[in-house]
């Protein structure tokens, strides 16, 4: 099992906070985009890019890298911010998000930006692509892992279940999904619109190993990804219970913030709250360092 010190965790939390601030600035600058999902997945993407995945920002096509497929492409702001912060491209470029001639398309396009593994947006398509990569790894005897970030809402799509059954039947142990269980979709709460529960039992019925975690707890994210590596004979789904809009009080748990951007003024309010949280984390780091 990976050993992660309390200091490491706090530093990763500070990075997640920075990424949240990037997301707010991107959305305000673009004037459109998605807020809820990206803010809710800040810890997951921080853990993946800064701790879990084998990757090299200077060599995005490195053959031995772990692959990250983003199925619910609309939360790409969090991926772009995590990529910029880990060195794939300049942080300044984040403000081109959704603008003409930008590499940062409103829904990510694999050919627009090195380091993106897939094009995503129309829901339900990512897991199938992740499976294709796993099958290729098996044929070629490669040991890279394939991660797939997904939303709960895209479990409405039939393709998701075609893919889940296939992966379970084929015992794709190099596949790990990180499922953003934030309970919202565009029209409201998932359990009102198109109920998914009992989700864990459904996954287990189609032969997946399931780990449920607090998706804002970085230690739990890292440990779950470690556990997934140790599971043979099954793919692993990490159900990350998250709060959509996490870190901004007026966005948290509000379906209306799924797909909209804050005004400049609302963005300032969000940044004030995130700055205060960042300050608390930095104080904690200072205390640990003595």
């Amino acid at each position: 099992m990976l050993t992660v010190s309390d200091l490491d965790i706090l530093e990763l939390e500070a990075m997640a906070n920075t990424i949240r601030q990037d997301i707010i600035r991107m959305l305000v600058s673009a004037g459109s985009g998605h807020a809820g999902g990206p803010l809710g997945m800040a810890e997951v993407f921080t853990a993946l890019y800064f701790r879990v995945m084998r990757h090299n920002p200077d060599n995005p096509d490195w053959e031995e890298r772990d692959r990250l497929v983003l199925s619910n492409g609309h939360i790409c702001a969090v991926r772009y911010a995590a990529m910029a912060r880990s060195g794939y491209f300049p942080v300044d470029e984040l403000l081109t998000y959704r603008k003409i001639d930008s590499r940062l398309q409103g829904h990510p396009h694999n050919l627009s930006l090195p380091g993106l593994e897939n094009t995503g947006g129309p829901l339900g398509q990512g897991l199938s692509q992740a499976i294709g990569r796993c099958l290729a790894a098996r044929m070629d005897d490669k040991d890279y892992r394939v991660y797939c970030a997904m939303s709960d809402g895209e479990h409405d799509e039939g393709q998701t279940w075609e893919a889940l059954m296939f992966a379970g039947n084929h015992k794709l142990r190099n596949l790990t999904t990180l499922l953003d269980r934030n309970n919202i979709q565009i029209d409201g709460h998932t359990e009102d619109i198109f109920p998914l529960e009992p989700l864990r039992a459904k996954y287990e019925a189609v032969k997946w190993h399931v780990i449920e975690i607090d998706g804002h707890n970085i230690r739990q994210i890292i440990e779950a990804c470690g556990e997934a590596k140790a599971v043979y004979e099954k793919p692993t789904a990490i159900i990350c219970h998250t709060i959509p809009g996490k870190g901004v009080d007026y966005m948290e748990n509000e379906p209306e913030w799924h797909g909209k951007a804050p005004s400049a003024e609302m963005g300032e309010r969000a940044l004030e709250q995130l700055h205060a949280e960042g300050e608390r984390i930095r104080n904690g780091i200072a205390k640990l360092r003595g």
Binding site: N110, L111, Q129, G132, A136, E162
Partner: protein, 332 residues
């Protein structure tokens, strides 16, 4: 005058009783076996239609490179994209009504927009699917695939050309759709007949009109040209297996040389080869054009011959269309 273009290298006895018959889907299966021998990256996926798509032999000989996707065409297309991103050359195999029929969005986003090197083999196209009825007769697949950026669309005319098209698809870097059919149809090209993505081939020379055809309608087009010759009309026949990219040069030349065009396809008139030809000619060299194809309707169960008769795809229909196109030359 030699009316059959010698450079097309068609069979000697083009209209004889000894013309052999074979299904175009056989050519797909044969090509996959040939490709597998030389290219370890070729992978085949099937959606519970392995025998029907002629991929059964591949699945037996190369089980480690064969993926049974089950009746799940959307996942199959997505998996193919993932395999392609890792350097494989996946051939997605099913009936065309299912693939590309029910996985169009996956083909659009995961394959075409992403430029995944995926090949899609659509079998059982056209009315010749027969007794299974309209649900299984793909008549819209060319239209669906032709409008997608980055997609190549091929509709070969016999088993030999289907084999060549499949091999050419594997060599081409990028998405390709190949349509073929269930029923046995005449084998009238040879190994020497030219085939190239983006090229049409003049099978028969002529000066009064040109028939531009694809797939199973190329042979009836040749038969029609023979009947028209008896009526005193000299009719060119162009085989246009590459619907996208389409051979602009050959099509424009055929319009300039003859002044009247008839397109023939076992597909809806809307959105098919006829539309592609009309797009070329309207912008470059407009001439009267008639369309032989299925006219905005679904098919039904029946024998292929009966269906061609009922839905307007026989030699007789082609003859009438040519006569009409020629009559329109003066303008009406």
């Amino acid at each position: 005058m030699k009316i059959v273009n010698q450079d097309a290298h068609l069979v000697e006895s083009l209209f004889g009783n000894d013309v052999k018959k074979a299904a175009t889907r056989d050519g797909y299966g044969q090509a996959l076996l040939e490709l597998a021998e030389t290219d370890p990256d070729v992978v085949v996926l099937s959606a519970d239609l392995t025998e029907s798509t002629r991929t059964l032999e591949f699945s037996k000989r190369y089980p480690e490179r064969f993926i049974e996707a089950g009746v799940a065409e959307q996942n199959m297309a997505g998996m193919a994209a993932g395999l392609a991103f890792e350097g494989k050359i996946p051939f997605v195999s099913s009936f065309a009504v299912f693939s590309p029929g029910r996985n169009w969005d996956q083909i659009r986003v995961s394959i075409c927009y992403s430029k995944a090197n995926v090949k899609i083999g659509g079998s059982h196209t056209g009315l010749t699917t027969g007794g299974d009825g309209a649900t299984h007769q793909a008549l819209e697949d060319i239209a669906m695939m032709r409008c997608l950026p980055n997609m190549v669309v091929l509709a070969p005319c016999d088993v030999i050309e289907t084999k060549k098209a499949t091999i050419a698809a594997a060599r081409h870097k990028g998405p390709v759709y190949i349509r073929f059919a269930r029923d046995k149809t005449p084998v009238f090209t040879t190994d020497k007949t030219p085939f190239e993505i983006g090229k049409a081939v003049v099978f028969r020379e002529g000066s009064d009109a040109a028939i531009i055809a694809c797939g199973t309608m190329v042979y009836p087009a040749l038969q029609a040209s023979e009947e028209l010759a008896a009526l005193g009309l000299s009719v060119m026949v162009v085989d246009s297996p590459s619907i996208k990219p389409i051979d602009i040069e050959t099509i424009v030349a055929s319009a300039k040389d003859t002044g009247a065009i008839v397109t023939c396809e076992e597909h809806q008139i809307y959105g098919g080869l006829g539309g592609a030809v009309a797009e070329v000619l309207a912008a470059r060299f407009p001439v009267p054009q008639e369309f032989v194809g299925v006219n905005d309707t679904f098919g039904e169960s029946g024998e292929p011959r009966e269906l061609w008769d009922k839905y307007g795809l026989t030699v007789d229909h082609i003859v009438k269309a040519v006569t009409k196109a020629v009559a329109r030359k003066g303008g009406y």
